[in-house]
Symmetry: C2
Subunit: 139 residues, 2 copies
Amino acid sequence: MNLSVNINDFLKLNEVKSSFQRIKIYEYIAENKNHPTVNTIFDELVKQIPTLSKMTVYNTLKLFREKNIIQEISIEDNELRYDANVKTHGHFKCRKCGEIFDFEYNNSEIVFTEINNYKIEETQLFIKGICSNCFTMNK
Amino acid sequence: MNLSVNINDFLKLNEVKSSFQRIKIYEYIAENKNHPTVNTIFDELVKQIPTLSKMTVYNTLKLFREKNIIQEISIEDNELRYDANVKTHGHFKCRKCGEIFDFEYNNSEIVFTEINNYKIEETQLFIKGICSNCFTMNK
DNA sequence: GTTTTTAATTATAATTATTATAATTTTGTA
DNA sequence: TACAAAATTATAATAATTATAATTAAAAAC
């Protein structure tokens, strides 16, 4: 079974004209659930596609985001990260190893009184600290 | 009553050596609860302190953050914002008017199973959408 | 109350992520 | 095959932040 074929259909289904680069970029984000930055995506894909331009990565990610097939994570101020999981979920960043972990949370249990008549379009919950791995290694 | 005197004491209490620039920077963030960017802080204060350098603003904000007397808000990827309210609270950014609103939320009601043994140091909840003002104006 | 030392501030240059622009290539279609 | 439209690429520009070194101010020592 060829995953690229499925991505091709998936993109068309979401009103994104498919192309080789677009398939590969989506494939990378969806397969490596590592919340990559633009640079990571570019550095990895340029190995397979030597002519790849970073502009294509920027344009494609912008397009994917507009079509809501990826999520933009601004957990760090100096770089954007991307996630193919568009379901609302939290992100934990370990200050030690730098890794980002997903976690589920019950969004409906949080009560917002001040903004209860505001139109909510996007929710991002970021937590920073030390992951259990780094914590135990420190002892 | 002179607020600057109080800030002077407040900084010392938090292990920050006081200076004219540092007092003015803290005063600006604490008085204008507008979640200012570095540029906003600089542009406003340079009117009072013509010799002020943007580096001082950067350095001072970094120091304040290390001493936990201000909070860094990375709700937008291309610029950092600052808040003298260090209590955990959420930030809502309106896509229309660009304003950032504070809101309280019950942090303890959110259950994190995946990261329940992680050491949490900082929590940021960002919501983006349309505020009620912009929403009613649109009709 | 000078002198000495340390730290804070400032000016300038460098870095880095992102955006803008225009040229080239690819893709779809008549 | 030829044409038109869109995607990709290369290059340059922008803007936020960081690095470095010089200057100024504050604190400590004599």
